[in-house]
């Protein structure tokens, strides 16, 4: 932005030029022409800097407001309601409007944390290590607790030793794979989400 004028005379003439009231009295709209100033002409919307935009759906309640996510160099720079959506017509509530704050929150943790039994601290672990350890634990617990038949002889083919909670904040595709792998593959029946609470 170039430096604005100096000196008393320059300041006065600048003030007179940018003063909105006379232009409003002359009939210009305060929403457009009369709102302009020397400074405002130099301002650009930050959306112009975005190099990517995509349609998202608000991650909070179930109204399903559409959002436009603008990004620059792989970082989100702005999120707003999608004006095309018949659900929200461009609006967002306080939570939806704060989605950018959640995405960029300094509290987000970008590494796997691991707490060994009886330990009093978290330690960082590689993702690959954690995935393998979890797979091993699932296999062990499943093998230890799997029931093919009840004492009555009824076939049940299930394990009550593993549970899964959650899903209402997640995609349909993710819920589908959880139910398919945990229920259809591993025989887990304790599968629940927030829909019941």
């Amino acid at each position: 932005m170039k430096k604005l004028r100096r000196g008393i005379a320059g300041r006065i003439s600048g003030f007179v030029r940018d003063w909105s009231l006379p232009r409003q009295f002359a009939g210009q709209s305060v929403m457009s022409e009369a709102a302009k100033s020397t400074l405002s002409k130099t301002l650009r919307p930050r959306l112009e800097e975005a190099d990517a935009v995509g349609t998202s759906i608000c991650p909070f309640c179930a109204v399903g407001c559409s959002q436009l996510i603008y990004a620059k160099n792989g970082k989100p720079i702005h999120i707003e309601g999608d004006p095309r959506s018949p659900v929200n017509q461009g609006t967002l509530c306080p939570k939806g409007a704060a989605t950018l704050g959640a995405l960029l929150s300094p509290e987000r943790i970008n590494t796997v944390l691991y707490r060994a039994p009886h330990s009093d601290t978290w330690e960082r672990k590689p993702l690959d290590w954690a995935m393998e350890r979890i797979a091993q634990l699932v296999k062990k617990t499943r093998d230890d607790t799997f029931v093919e038949k009840l004492p009555s002889g009824k076939r049940v083919n299930h394990t009550l030793g593993i549970g899964s909670l959650g899903g209402a904040t997640m995609d349909n595709e993710e819920n589908y794979l959880i139910k398919k792998l945990f229920g259809g593959g591993l025989g887990i029946v304790n599968i629940e989400n927030q829909a019941r609470i």
Binding site: S56, P86, V87, A98, A102, P117, I134, L137, S164
Partner: protein, 859 residues
């Protein structure tokens, strides 16, 4: 709603709320918790609609409504029952609609005895097992199968219909004089729900109640429609399902279902809570409402299972096609005719495996390993200290979330650790925190509260180890398949047969969510071609489909309808058929056949939606017909042929998922706690049930045990009604809004809302510390003294109600005591949903002693 209409989902599109002439928000603080959807109510108000809020708290929703009716928490059935009585006794119901489209004229078995005759209990009650045998609730001479797996999975009773529904229409008395016809039963059942009784039970002045009843009745009929909007203020009770049933009866009587501006809108709390019910991460259902096999039902073989679960009449007669197609999608070539399509691979239920008993199973050491995906039971689940106790008993725990949550660090910062009851060294749980990608960082689809399946794009790559849950489950599955590779054990065959070959993308080997959606949509096995509609599904193994109700969401290669983004212009018609996809078959308003009269003509020009076009020989209009498109309105079943499936429903039977095509004002099968809603007091209540000797729902699921005790009715130690609620700025127990700086700053800490009169009585000033207690525990929290909560006069006694937001914990920027530490574990009779809206507690000024004082509670 499932039992009343056939599907457990909100019946209209959100934007259709603007077409209503009367809107009742009850069991919801819609303006604060679903603010963007509430705009449609304000739009309706501008067009002249009457807005009504019925709620224990005066909130921003109340402020924007024309009528505010205060009621004591947990008395919704008394209030709605009062309106039903008003409508019946004054002949205000929509006779042409209800006679044609509901079971109001059906005759019930002679042995039926009503709660009115048995002091709050229906015939068939087994006191030892606390459940009902439903034989006397049936249509005379018939056995009516339930419409929906969600409800009958919980019942141990056979829902099998040996074909009685195919033999002829259920006996009816169109004159409504038969003493056992539904109309007469309804009149007797609600006879004592007078305005005076409503006032005595709910505390709502009878003049206010009458204004509500009259406004709703006035705005219902051929020319006008009304809609109810509810949320967890209705479901979080031991009678949650029956509250919604009461509303369904009312809307059926008034003709407010399947019509523009007429319906019931369930306002759900999470972005895909509807989706996670449809494509369920729920124990008792397979995708899109197919029942999970159950060891204690006649489900031993696939033939038994199909025989048990396939009704003779109605749309669900197609059940075997959907089931075989699901097994084909899951097990591919491993699903063959000679192994019953892999039916034995599916695990069977042996009880209630929902969240509340799962919590107890953790505490009892039955559940040893636990996954948590974007849920936070240490804050969001009732009796949170018992939850912590359960988490501490686990061998291992995997938590996936965006930021640190209370459920993951309970061993370090939990209430039990802070109170000195335990130490990290005593807790043996192996805990994994895996960071999760957020929408925007992953693509996939959410299903909103009105069944709209909307795709969201991936715009950026998540940082570090953040991954989508799809990535996590897919790669965990791949590793497990490797670990079990080569096993010949019968128990491992399911995992090895599971189809698990989704295309991977990029360096992170992210599975393609569109490939998963294509499988949910369904395809023909021979050539892998997408199928366009579920009418193409077969039971011979030639089609595979992961969720039959979602057929059409991905109808052709390269056509993801959930991603479609073309709204209607200002010239209408306003059903926005090209904006995303609504299940089933892109129908925006469920049961919309009811928007036309029995002859197929719109009830009125003002309220037209679907009508019969004689020239074209099909149903037409502004929505996709929720009906057989070419079935004539005057078509009648040919009973001489024992018709099956849709052939047994006539052209004037709009509720095609029900075995008789009618809206069930009276529910013969599918409910555990009675065919009609009945006022019971909450399990914890400061008063006795005025209407019946039976105090609370006799079939409520109670799990009393040390650490999970209940406050007795009228217990003088716990004199106040307590309710929990949510805040606009903070989303549920989820951490994302408590770590987002803007929202955390707007609602920085926990508080309890107290009526001015009670505060004065107890000597509590605004912002003073207070202690809240129940038999489960104590918390300390600051007081917010307001006039928004008013004292209730219940049967002559003054009863105070207090309320507290439950969204706080010890992590994130916005902190405070978790209200759920006060609550206990007991559930709705049908759904096992917990009670958070109506219980009792004590309140005193002051603070807890140092051991109980939580560091997160501030200075």
């Amino acid at each position: 709603m499932g039992t009343s209409f056939g599907r457990g989902a909100g019946t209209t599109a959100l934007w259709d709320l603007a077409n209503a002439d009367c809107l009742i928000v009850m069991g919801s603080n819609m303006a604060e918790n679903h603010p963007v959807a509430f705009r449609f109510l304000l739009e309706a108000k501008q067009r002249g609609a009457t807005l009504i809020h019925v709620d224990p708290r005066f909130t921003r929703t109340s402020a924007l409504c024309d009528i505010y009716a205060p009621i004591r928490s947990g008395t919704d059935i008394a209030f709605l029952g009062g309106i039903i009585r008003h409508v019946l006794e004054n002949d205000l119901w929509f006779r042409d609609f209800a006679l044609a489209y509901t079971n109001i004229a059906d005759i019930i078995e002679e042995g039926y005895e009503d709660a009115e005759e048995k002091d709050g209990i229906f015939s068939g009650f087994n006191a030892a097992q606390a459940n009902y045998e439903t034989g006397t609730w049936q249509y005379k001479g018939k056995k009516v199968p339930s419409s929906i797996a969600e409800h009958h999975a919980e019942s141990r009773e056979s829902t099998r219909d040996s074909g009685s529904m195919s033999d002829g229409p259920p006996p009816k008395d169109p004159t409504l004089q038969h003493p056992n016809c539904v109309y007469q039963i309804l009149r007797r059942h609600f006879a004592r729900y007078t305005p005076e009784m409503v006032e005595r039970i709910t505390g709502c002045p009878k003049e206010t109640f009458m204004k509500v009843a009259e406004a709703l009745a006035r705005n219902s009929g051929p020319e006008r429609t009304g809609t109810f909007c509810y949320a967890v203020g209705w479901t979080h009770h031991t009678v949650g399902v029956q509250i919604i049933r009461a509303c369904s009866i009312l809307q059926g009587l008034l003709g407010n279902i399947g019509r523009p501006g007429g319906g019931i809108q369930a306002l759900r709390g999470h972005s895909s809570i509807q989706g996670s019910t449809d494509i369920p991460t729920l124990y008792n259902m397979l995708p899109t409402y197919l029942p999970q096999p159950d060891a204690f039902k006649s489900h031993d073989t696939f033939q038994d299972y199909l025989k048990e679960e396939t009704p003779a009449t109605g749309w669900w007669h197609n059940f075997p096609k959907y089931m075989v197609s699901l097994l084909k999608a899951w097990y591919g070539p491993g699903a063959r005719p000679d192994n019953d399509w892999g039916y034995d691979f599916l695990p069977k239920l042996t009880g209630d495996h929902s969240q509340l008993p799962m919590t107890l199973a953790m505490a009892d050491g039955v559940v040893k390993g636990q996954f948590i995906f974007g849920q936070n039971p240490a804050v969001g689940a009732v009796n949170s200290e018992l939850v912590e106790h359960g988490l501490a008993k686990l061998d291992w725990l995997v938590v996936r979330d965006f930021a640190m949550v209370e459920t993951a660090d309970f061993w370090q910062k939990g209430r039990r650790v802070q109170k000195g009851e335990t130490t990290p060294a005593q807790i043996g749980t192996e805990v994994f925190f895996l960071p999760a990608a957020m929408p925007g960082e992953k693509d996939g689809s959410f299903t909103n509260t009105s069944r709209l399946v909307q795709w969201h794009d991936k715009v950026l790559e998540a940082a570090g180890d953040n991954r989508s849950d799809l990535w996590f489950v897919y790669h965990l599955g791949k590793r497990l398949k490797q670990l079990y590779a080569g096993s010949t054990a019968r128990r491992d065959a399911a995992l090895l047969a599971l189809t698990w070959d989704y295309p991977e993308r990029g360096e992170r080997r992210e599975p393609d969510p569109e490939a998963v959606l294509r499988e949910i949509n369904g395809y023909t096995v021979a050539d892998g071609k997408q199928i366009e509609k579920y009418q193409e599904l077969k039971d011979d193994g030639s089609t595979a489909c992961g969720g039959w109700m979602y057929c059409g969401v991905y109808p052709k290669e390269g056509h993801n309808q959930a991603r479609s983004r073309i709204p209607d212009g200002p010239d209408g018609p306003g059903s926005h058929m090209n904006w995303a996809f609504a299940w089933p078959s892109n129908r925006r308003t469920l049961y919309n056949r009811a928007s036309a009269d029995p002859q197929g003509r719109p009830w009125s020009e003002r309220k037209k939606m679907i009508w019969w076009d004689e020239g074209q020989g099909k149903w037409t209009g502004t929505d996709v017909p929720d009906f057989i498109p070419t079935k004539r309105p005057d078509m009648r079943p040919d009973w001489s042929k024992h018709p099956k499936g849709m052939d047994a429903l006539g052209g004037d039977d709009p509720f095609i998922m029900e075995a008789d095509g009618k809206c069930q004002l009276f529910v013969p099968t599918g409910l555990r706690d009675g065919p009609l809603p009945t006022h019971y007091e909450p399990v914890e209540s400061p008063v006795r049930n005025i209407l019946y000797g039976q105090q609370h729902n006799p079939t409520a699921k109670l799990w009393p045990r040390p650490g999970n005790e209940f406050n007795e009715p009228e217990d003088p130690r716990f004199p106040y009604v307590f309710t929990t609620f949510r805040l606009t700025e903070l989303h549920c127990g989820g951490i994302p809004t408590r770590v987002a700086p803007h929202t955390a700053e707007l609602q920085p800490e926990a508080f309890v809302e107290i009526p001015t009169e009670l505060a004065r009585e107890l000597g509590i000033r605004h912002l003073d510390w207070t202690v809240l207690s129940t038999r489960r525990g104590e918390i300390e929290v600051k007081a917010m003294v307001t006039n928004r909560l008013r004292p209730f006069v219940i049967d002559g006694r003054t009863i105070y109600q207090i309320g507290m937001p439950w969204v706080f914990g010890w992590d994130g920027y916005a902190r405070g005591a978790p209200a759920n530490a006060l609550l206990s574990i007991y559930g709705d009779a049908n759904t096992s949903i917990h009670t958070t809206k109506a219980l009792t507690c004590n309140l005193r000024p002051g603070r807890l002693g140092p051991p109980g004082r939580m560091s997160h509670a501030g200075a």
